[in-house]
Symmetry: C3
Subunit: 352 residues, 3 copies
């Protein structure tokens, strides 16, 4: 797709300087952009590149004062970064809106109900009684199990697997290879030391505006639902166990893991590779540092923890600081012991 | 599927109270169950819900004494939870037994041998000389490489990838996206600092009654086999490296990782996100806490470790307790130093 | 495939002892090998098995002196292990070279350009304007998005997902279920506490001779490229975030994670389950121990760190050693406190 400077300027309600007919067909960073690309200048650190860039169009801040002549056509907006991001969003929307219809071969059960403009990529499997609402794109090689419902304007990227009976809201974005609704890890120990599977007959409910990263796994509940609430954002390779609840607008970084039945509040931030044990509660706004091991509930809203096992953020940092000096600390104790021994001995001597 | 109270009562050898004709078609937790659902009461904490639930049928303990009238038809059994779990198992068996036959399109090599009642989902690939025994279900979008053998009554969930020459026993359950038999991570360092791949020509052997979680990866051996023994249960996103052995009825929680050639005994329990280095032995019944980093063999059966690097469980907990007070400990040392300095100075003065 | 001792001997420029007509069709470890298999003896620890093995052919070191008669035909080479590995490589090459042509059903866009001898497995999806060079094998159930370029002699194992616009060099090996080019995890916080997606319009560039493990995820850049440089080797279940750079011949073990915009130098070694925060630099030749949490740049080439948070390797090991004795250390402080208290009290008494 090609766009003229005039079109972009109108889209952003910007002010045009230079040729209105200049065209671009892709995007580039200001230090790398080539002819035919659109770029932006937001960070003053990159200012020099504005005068050397080969980009054809540059978005800049309204109030920016040019120090020399520039090659690109300029579009001035209130905030150049926001304007550029808006443009990217619009561009991606246009690209994905072109995806429509059912590619062949695909497998769609007769009892499945798909809105007219849904996209189903080749080699995707849509099971019995599946419902998919308008504007949703299901990319190739995906598996949508029986009785799954998917809301409007979702993106199901390639190779996503959604087990039977799970429910997705609107504007849900699931990245490639993610697994939604696999069995919770529940086994009853038997007297002979073996384990017997506890059937997992609940489901996973994903509310609106949730993003799920690539190869993340979310297990179905034993009974009831594992729930990811509105606006939560999950990165790649995350493990969410059965019956977990993730609150609204909670953000979880890559490779973190949440054990069974733990309830996470709203606006919580969980760092990468952090782990949470099962059956605990995390209050709203809590911050869990990367690689933390959270073994008990965080009841105080907006509190922060770090470390494994995790402790209060500030005092854990202090302990970690001392930890780095432990050998010196031990030496100081040895020196004290020598001195005190000397004092004790002298006391004995002088006491005689 | 619909079931009557009479049918369920017979199935569980239970005692019926109320209308034998009441029907249910799904399951629910006692605090949430709706009309047409079956529920159970096992935990006395939930007793009150028995008198308010909208469930149509409830399974309760033989000896439970009703305090008021109840709406649902009751089925009394020795242990309500066990009865309910039995029912779930039977139900899931019935649902999956309906899956039979080869969905189209699928790719099945002419040299593959599949038992009559095997299910192969659409877009599954079955390579040359593959053998699949009776009752096994292979869900859509799965890849079964050349010469793989799969025993009876296995569940291969959607998008599982099994590389060539791997062997699965009976009643093996592999969840979506798991990869069995990818190359072990073996590279020989070259003089110029680059690495040369060491061919990985072994396989993976998975014995009977093993469960493998979603997106878990199990690498093939360099030579010989990576082995997961009878009844072992592996959660999601686990890494098992080449030539590892996992013992009978060993349980590994999500995101744990086991490095190459490590041998894990029987009935071992490994917590989530734990890591084991390569070439070590873990004795039977060992317990490895979540997020532990095990860097040497555990030779004592039924011993336990925690921490990274992992140490004996009890003494590590003690060290962790002191760690939390390290800043205070340092302060105590400072105070001691001040006092001892004072004593030393006074001694000098009085000694003069 | 069957090979005679004569053929193998010529292939390895080895010296034959025994029947030149002996045939083998597979490989085995010396302690397990059966008739019809080829084995080798390199490690003197396994010497005894040479005299009991059922292998039909054994590769041994040139200078090895036989102590008894042996059953297998022998092939003597300078270094038995290297010879055996060469043979394995050749064997695997021959097996994969047999893979050619387009299996059906597959989906290949009319605008895609595939070299003549490319293999495309069934149920693979090749998008618009994809380029695939000679000798590359794309296994079943893979997804290659629009505008992707793949070099020569690559192996794309089953179920790999490569998003649009990514670029792969030559001799790249990507294992099953890996995801290349999923969206970076970028969200702008809004005033109401919710998050707005920042479009991710960059790509992933993978240079020559890179290996990517099963179910590993590599996110596309926000703008520009996430880059994996020549000869880098990545194990399974690794997370590489947007705009990361991984240097030449750098090796990353399973389940490690690298946060956004971090630049990793050449010949770096990163242990399993290690985590790196975003926006840092790691110098050439650095060593990061398993489970480390690296929170700041490593500027010194060939330096090493361990621990979470990570510190200098040697001093962290010392701190860890003291950590294990923390309870005793605390006891020593208590004893010192008691003695000093006694000395202080005596001083007061004697000072009166």
């Amino acid at each position: 797709m090609q766009f003229t400077a005039a079109q972009i300027s109108i889209l952003l309600s910007g002010k045009l300087e230079g040729s209105a007919d200049t065209t671009v067909s892709s995007f580039g960073k200001i230090e790398e952009a080539q002819e035919g690309q659109l770029t932006f200048l937001a960070n003053p650190k990159y200012e020099e590149y504005l005068y050397t860039t080969n980009a054809s169009i540059a978005i800049i801040n309204e109030g920016y004062e040019l120090r020399h002549q520039v090659k690109p056509t300029l579009i001035r907006v209130q905030d150049a970064y926001t304007g550029f991001a808006q443009l990217l969003s619009k561009y991606q929307e246009m690209v994905t809106q072109q995806l429509k219809g059912i590619q062949q071969p695909s497998y769609i059960s007769k009892s499945a109900k798909l809105a007219d403009d849904v996209y189903v990529g080749a080699f995707s499997y849509i099971g019995d009684n599946v419902h998919v609402a308008a504007g949703t794109k299901i990319f190739p090689n995906s598996f949508i199990g029986d009785n799954v419902t998917i809301g409007a304007n979702c993106m199901i990227h390639p190779g996503v697997k959604i087990y039977h009976d799970c429910e997705l809201g609107n504007h849900v974005n699931i990245h490639a290879g993610a697994v939604i609704g696999s069995d919770g890890f529940g086994f009853a120990p038997q007297v002979d030391g073996s384990f017997k599977k506890v059937p997992q007959i609940g489901n996973v409910v994903i509310e609106d505006h949730v993003e799920i990263g690539a190869n993340t796994t979310i297990d179905r509940a034993t009974m009831g639902s594992t729930t990811i609430k509105t606006g939560a954002k999950l990165d790649n390779l995350i493990q969410i166990a059965h019956n977990v609840e993730v609150g609204n607008s909670t953000v979880i970084a890559a490779q973190a893991g949440v054990s069974g039945s733990t309830k996470i509040g709203n606006n919580v931030m969980i760092g990468g590779q952090a782990g949470l044990v099962g059956h605990i509660q995390i209050a709203d706004g809590a911050k869990i540092n990367a690689q933390s091991g959270v073994s008990k509930s965080m009841k105080e809203p907006y509190s922060a923890v770090t470390g494994s096992p995790a402790g209060d953020y500030t005092s854990s940092l202090r302990s970690q600081a001392v930890f780095r000096n432990l050998p010196q600390l031990e030496k100081r104790i040895q020196e004290l012991e020598a001195l005190v021994r000397q004092l004790m001995e002298e006391r004995v001597v002088s006491g005689e």
